[in-house]
């Protein structure tokens, strides 16, 4: 854990308890997860009990309490994608990666999550890998695309 970087993030928000969510978001985007050490440090600096930090960190979907893999997959499960066949896209991704949403595989290659709408419904069903949108997916195309990641 990079303690200095976290200290920097906390002081950037003036150590205010009301900035807890903003601080956790910054740590999440810097390290791609919230380690127990990071949470402990935040609690110490903001003088917030560990129970409340954990309550917040588990309440919001943006936070991950497990490390993320090299490639982050977000399969859109928005209504438009759903009626266009998102469940079967998700099924293929699960089959190939061997993980469920919220998990990271043992080689730290993929992390899988579902999101509720990426807002590019014209491309549905769509998924996002490392912030790149991949649209108009069908099972075979999905399987083919996943082969390109190392």
């Amino acid at each position: 854990m990079n303690k200095e970087k976290i200290e920097q993030i906390i002081s950037g928000h003036h150590c205010e308890a009301s900035s807890l969510i903003q601080i956790l978001l910054d740590i999440q985007s810097e390290f791609h997860w919230l380690s127990p050490e990071a949470l402990e440090l935040v609690g110490e600096r903001l003088k917030i009990p560990a129970s409340r930090i954990r309550h917040t960190a588990t309440f919001y979907k943006a936070f991950s309490l497990v490390p993320k893999g090299r490639h982050e997959i977000n399969v859109c499960m928005g209504t438009a994608c759903h009626v266009r066949g998102a469940p079967r896209v998700l099924e293929v991704v699960q089959q190939i990666t061997g993980i469920q949403p919220g998990e990271t595989d043992i080689d730290m290659k993929f992390s899988l999550d579902t999101v509720n709408c990426l807002g590019c419904c014209a491309l549905g069903p769509v998924m996002e890998i490392d912030e790149q949108h991949l649209g108009k997916l069908v099972p075979a195309k999905t399987a083919e695309l996943l082969k390109h990641y190392e």
Binding site: F59, A62, M77, T79, H82, E91, C117, L123, P139
Partner: protein, 650 residues
């Protein structure tokens, strides 16, 4: 720094003077939808081509906000001619520059073409998708580079603010908004003017105003398009509201899933501060106001205002019961006014043009326009802004161009997870807050998901209840347990374990969850179930009694097999099946291995129409597979025509 209305007008005139020359302008949609289809590369290609041709002084290239026609992105509009090109790729760019910019000609193949009438539309406004809209709010998006405040000022931006600060009292602003009939666009539909009045009259010196940009309904992205595309219009609305209410501090609560919106709003706030539209003594009026951005961290329930307030305070967003309403006790216990993005964007229009202008549009009790995100099984996916009172049929068929693939319309779902499904028989109702409630749906924030004959309505109800199970905060038990139980029953029905009495139990649970939950999430959670039961009860019954899914959607109730008499052994389904469930092989009739098949339907879709060999069935088991020896296809040797003739001649 601009210190007075006169200085602002001078500043605006300077911008306009610089632009009055005959300079061509290439606007490329840089909204999230078009960016996903490669708009950034198109912008780069235009810049490179303009530089290559030495046209920098004659042409400017802009990445703009989203004009709504996402189906045909990336979209390019060239002014002053207003030529609109669709699905532009970087390869098209040199031709566009050579023909349209240099020779003032049109590149025919990139125009919108009406396939029925075989008519092409050159100008953006002539495309049927836009022609039937009234784009008061979203129409400016394509004219504005959201990171450039000059573009907003050139269109008269911040003139509503000067009118407010120098010609109106706070009471007059509130009265004007009341008179306009504006109702909250976030879903509640409460009168904005009355809400403002309550916050204004609430005792206390410290008050807050908030933009709710926690747009969470799946399949809805109107607010994002306005935030990303025209952030200053929202800031202007918010400053006007702050003046009316007597607030000096505002927040924009944006979900972190919208990085571009966050970026553009951040840039806009900085520019507004630099120009003197925010900060101390705004434009010399003695009115102080500033705005902070707060990122939401991914919780649907935070769209509910009491949850949003707690989240702003850095806590988990668990709603509390109302009253007290935020107008009297909101953020940090102070009077607070929260409005949705689109509501704020309407405010400058009302102030500039007057309430009488604004309330001409719309129905008796719903005024102005509304942006809808028209998605799902529809040809023209995109954002649609129409006057309140437009019919669903016009939205779906005139603007959306109907259902793709020759399929039959089944229902349109409005209002997100709290909304309902409306069948064909009600397509002619005027869309406004009250009419939608009468047919069992709601306006909500503006999501419209079109469903065709292949969509199973029980599955749709299950989908929404699954969404709500995950998003229920768990604070109150009617929602936490009620939603979960409804989801469990619906899952059973869609997986073939439905039993007599399930429908009645669903109705009972819907009743108790709806009446006893703490916030709107739980109170409206049963709507997807109740509205589908109201119009599609027969689908529930077929699932339960016959274990059959009439739309062939519920994978547990559907089987696929290959008709051995029709199979051409082309091996396409074998290749496309991601479960390796098709046993194919050269010159062998293909077979679906039912133990491996997950009924995803891919084989059914990819089987060439000349064979049409894949059959789907529901409510009965697939026939037994044919014996191995019967699979061999003996093909006739292919003899070319010429050789054949030669043979006969001999």
């Amino acid at each position: 720094m601009i210190n007075s209305p006169a200085e602002l007008e001078q500043f605006r005139q300077d911008i306009l003077a610089k632009r009055s020359s005959e300079k061509a302008r290439i606007s490329v949609c840089a909204g999230a939808g078009c960016l996903a289809t490669g708009a950034r590369k198109v912008i780069d290609a235009f810049n490179a081509e303009i530089e290559k041709e030495g046209l920098e002084s004659e042409v400017c290239v802009k990445g703009t906000g989203c004009p709504g026609f996402c189906e045909r992105g990336p979209i390019v509009v060239i002014d002053p001619q207003q030529t609109c090109y669709l699905q532009v790729t970087p390869q098209d760019v040199p031709e566009i520059v050579a023909k349209t910019i240099q020779q003032k000609k049109v590149v025919e193949r990139l125009l919108y073409c009406d396939t029925v009438k075989n008519e092409k539309s050159v100008r953006e406004a002539d495309i049927p998708f836009y022609k039937h809209q009234e784009r008061n709010i979203i129409g400016n998006n394509i004219k504005i580079d959201p990171k450039c405040i000059d573009d907003y000022l050139a269109l008269g931006g911040y003139s509503a603010l000067t009118k407010t600060l120098f010609q109106m009292t706070p009471e007059e602003v509130v009265d004007e908004v009341k008179k306009s009939g504006l109702r909250g666009r976030g879903g509640g539909g409460f009168s904005t003017g009355i809400k403002w009045d309550a916050a204004r009259k609430a005792p206390g010196d410290t008050k807050y105003v908030i933009v709710n940009a926690d747009e969470g309904d799946p399949g809805a992205f109107m607010d994002r398009a306005v935030l990303e595309g025209n952030p200053h219009s929202i800031l202007e609305g918010l400053i006007i509201g702050a003046y009316a209410i007597g607030s000096h501090e505002g927040y924009v609560y944006v979900r972190q899933e919208y990085p571009l919106a966050l970026e553009n709003v951040g840039v806009a706030i900085k520019q507004a501060q630099e120009c003197g539209f925010l900060g101390r003594n705004i434009l010399g009026s003695n009115f102080d106001f500033d705005i902070k951005v707060h990122r939401g961290a991914g919780a649907f329930v935070c769209g509910e205002e009491t949850a949003l307030l707690l989240s702003l305070e850095g806590k988990p967003g668990e709603p509390r019961s109302r009253p007290p309403y935020p107008a009297t006790s909101g953020l940090w216990g102070k009077p607070t006014n929260i409005n949705n993005v689109e509501t704020w964007a309407n405010v400058p229009l009302i102030v500039s043009n007057g309430a009488d202008w604004y309330n001409q549009l719309g129905t008796a009790r719903s005024k102005g326009t509304k942006i809808f995100s028209l998605v799902g099984k529809i040809k023209n996916t995109g954002l649609v802004e129409v006057p309140m009172g437009a019919t669903l049929r016009d939205i779906i068929y005139k603007i959306g161009d109907g259902i793709p693939g020759g399929k039959k319309f089944k229902a349109i779902q409005t209002g997100g997870p709290a909304g309902g499904c409306i069948p064909e028989e009600h397509l002619d109702i005027p869309v406004d807050f009250d009419e939608l409630i009468k047919v069992g749906a709601i306006m909500g924030s503006g999501g419209m998901i079109v469903m065709d004959e292949d969509t199973c309505m029980v599955d749709v109800a299950r989908y929404f209840l699954n969404f709500l199970t995950q998003e229920s905060c768990g604070k109150c038990s009617p929602c936490r347990e009620g939603v979960k139980q409804m989801h469990r029953i619906l899952t059973n029905i869609t997986e073939g374990r439905g039993k007599e009495g399930d429908i009645e139990l669903l109705e009972e649970l819907a009743m108790s969850t709806g009446s006893a939950s703490l916030c709107a999430l739980g109170r409206s959670a049963a709507n997807p179930v109740l509205s589908t039961l109201r119009y599609f009860r027969h689908e529930y019954e077929t699932h339960i009694k016959e274990k059959r899914c009439p739309s062939y959607t519920c994978q547990g109730l559907v089987s696929y097999y290959i008709d051995s008499a029709k199979c051409g052994a082309c091996r396409i389904c074998e290749r496309e099946c991601s479960s390796q469930a098709v046993m194919g092989g050269k010159n062998l009739i293909h077979i679906v291995d039912q133990t491996k098949c997950n009924a995803c339907g891919t084989c059914f879709e990819v089987c060439p129409t000349k064979f049409g060999a894949v059959i789907r069935i529901s409510g009965e088991p697939a026939p037994a597979r044919i014996p191995e020896e019967a699979r061999i296809i003996v093909r006739q040797r292919y003899v070319p025509k010429k050789a054949k003739q030669a043979e006969t001649a001999v």
